[in-house]
Symmetry: none
Subunit: 425 residues, 2 copies
């Protein structure tokens, strides 16, 4: 839709995106603003000011989450309509990942209050702490704290400099000793909406500015070790070899073919790392280790593909006289978006004249943690060339504008709706 | 033959093998003493001391070759009778590869001088620099420098830490700026003898302690780079991927099948190294580099297989939307041993009562470089289970003793022969 038809103010949003990008700026377009650093704290303070401008009261919770709240005079204690994302970045990142979700939510609230609307339930905008997880090697910290999903030892994790998350959190303004107070009571969050860049090429290929997320796929992470026997590349006859890389190549080729054969489904399979030993051009590889990343919305299909992969490893080991070990590192089920929230978004997109393709999210987001305590939905904004976690990450102002407007309209319709009606929908 | 019938002293040889194995020792029986490292330098210094004990004068040439020389009073300027091998090892190696050739040659000279023999031509024992080629990905450095076969850019090659061969050579004691002075004048080397472990299973299967090499098969070394595009493993659909590792796996699988299909021939094909970038479990690999080692006695078949490999790369690039680059690092035709030197060795073996089967060498050796400037011959010593480039590499003391004695007797007969006679043979 044209910018003049929008309720939201994209000039303001773009100025804020640019202002935030100065905090931790690297190269021309890059940002390195890792979680719970002084730079992250600067970003949070700035966002807190903008929340106040939008009419919200602001607090930093025990887990370091920045929470802006728009009270509801009509139902001050009603479950909260929550919007959010994150402000922390990867070490070699762009200006949009997470950021547009927080700034877009603040803008949605500001457009709402500027027009004199008053919500029928409280609205909260959250900038969750440490979504990325790159500093302490485990992400979604703030959103898991809020939803009671932290695990033992989380505060003892250290960054590359040996600083514990406990120390970093205390320095950031949180309170590691009262972390459990960040958890919301059961039923306190009515629903959760998140706006985010796609970080993939689907919307671009479909020519759509925005998309509707149907769910966050469940990642299965495996590590495969193959054990053969080293020998001189010139003197061990082919029939006597136990070449671990020949076996690994056979598995990877078979795995790729198997996943690609599911064309038209959202399943994706990746071997992203491979190490071999001893790694000399004239020695037959004795050991190979590689990782497998398999994601799908359909657990039955994902289980079947995992079964197929395990058979590929077994066959390749037999063919190449190898032994092997498969370790499971992560195994999460997919989390689906709420149908009635998706319907609300579909309806608003229709009224805006927006094409709104539906797609799953391969990457996970704070919404994944929220999905365990309330219904959730997500809107994706087109990413140029599908690039993310890179300074080249880029989204058009007009695409972000469509996304923020869609978030605003959805929030407005939810915040003004009779709750009895929606829950019956 | 029994140890007491030998002129050479195997106690001394075995003690020296064990002493050298302490330099760069890994695990119980392994060695990691890569070329031009401080450990390699330690080994060279020790070998230099032993050369002096054997009556030789010692120098390190500009290419880092350690050269021990026994002068000939009778013919001080006559072409040299050269014996040698190397002291550097693969990163995950044993105690014998190269080592027995250097220590065996030193022992041969010592047995010769101890008995009061004086040669009719100078004898030189050489420990050639960087035979293995694993550190800078190209081997036979010292022997190619001596024979004028270095190529452009050799000194600019870097190891895994970014150290150039130029820097490594200077640190080792060579002189990269005067490298051409290491080259011997045409005709200065009369002939070359090398003792080496077989590194394969043939002698063991024939029940022979030693064998006579008839030639070295021609190695083709290629480096293949595949270029795709990185992306989030969760968000780029399979059909839109440009996964460089998927392409590499396809090439390796096809290449292995192609070479294995030539069962019953001596051709061998190996992919021994593979690196990928960026190497994160949830990022699609953007770049993969791997090496190919293909060896055969039959150049026509080897050319056909190379053609097949290039087609595999082309097809995999098309299937995975990759670009690629194939670099040829080494391309040697097979080099056959000198018939009159082989006859000399056959005669000595007969006098020792040794069974001496004849076989080709799949691995190449410094002899390959020497073959371009003088006649050469090689003696192989049986390898247990055909294992080499592995800490489990092993040869019996008695087998090495047969090999060193055979080397000594051949050297003696050549060094004491009327040159006019031999060249007419």
């Amino acid at each position: 839709m044209s910018a003049s038809d929008r309720a939201i103010n994209m000039d303001r949003v773009m100025k804020r995106i640019e202002r935030l990008a100065e905090i931790g700026k690297i190269s021309d377009t890059g940002v390195n603003r890792q979680a719970m650093t002084p730079l992250d704290r600067q970003a949070v303070e700035l966002a807190g000011e903008w929340m106040k401008e939008a009419g919200m009261s602001v607090r930093l919770d025990e887990a370091g989450n920045l929470i802006g709240r728009l009270n509801s005079a009509a139902a001050p204690d009603a479950p909260v309509l929550m919007l959010g994302s994150h402000l922390d970045t990867q070490p070699y990142a762009g200006r949009f990942d997470g950021i547009i979700g927080v700034l877009g939510a603040i803008e949605a609230v500001q457009a709402f209050t500027d027009r004199g609307f008053r919500p029928l339930q409280p609205i909260e905008v959250v900038a969750f702490t440490d979504e990325e997880g790159c500093r302490f090697n485990k992400g979604l910290f703030g959103s898991r704290a809020m939803t009671g999903r932290l695990e033992q030892g989380e505060l003892d994790r250290t960054d590359a400099d040996g600083i514990t998350r406990r120390e970093a959190l205390a320095g950031f303004g949180g309170d590691p000793n009262r972390l459990q107070e960040a958890e919301y009571a059961k039923g306190a969050i009515d629903c959760y909406l998140e706006l985010h860049i796609e970080q993939g090429p689907v919307l671009e290929s479909l020519g759509a500015s925005c998309g509707l997320v149907t769910g966050i796929s469940g990642p299965l992470w495996l590590t495969v070790d193959l054990y053969g026997f080293a020998g001189h590349a010139g003197s061990v006859p082919m029939a006597m070899r136990r070449d671990a890389l020949a076996g690994a190549a056979q598995v990877i080729t078979g795995f790729q073919a198997m996943v690609r054969a599911e064309a038209g489904t959202p399943v994706v399979g990746t071997v992203g790392t491979l190490q071999l030993f001893p790694g000399s051009r004239n020695i037959i590889p004795e050991r190979v280790q590689f990782t497998v990343d398999l994601r799908d919305l359909d657990m039955e299909r994902r289980d079947r593909l995992e079964e197929g992969l395990r058979k590929l490893v077994d066959d390749a080991a037999a063919d190449n006289k190898l032994s092997y070990f498969i370790r499971e590192d992560t195994n999460s089920p997919p989390r689906f978006c709420d149908e009635s929230l998706m319907n609300a978004i579909r309806g608003e997109a229709l009224s805006m004249g927006l094409k709104l393709p539906e797609l799953m999210s391969g990457p996970f987001h704070d919404a994944l943690a929220l999905s365990y305590v309330c219904p959730y939905a997500m809107i994706f904004v087109r990413s140029k060339d599908g690039i993310s976690h890179n300074p080249m990450e880029f989204s058009l102002e007009d695409d972000i504008g469509d996304g923020v407007e869609l978030l605003y309209r959805t929030m407005k319709s939810l915040a003004l709706a009779n709750k009895g009606e929606r829950s019956g929908g």
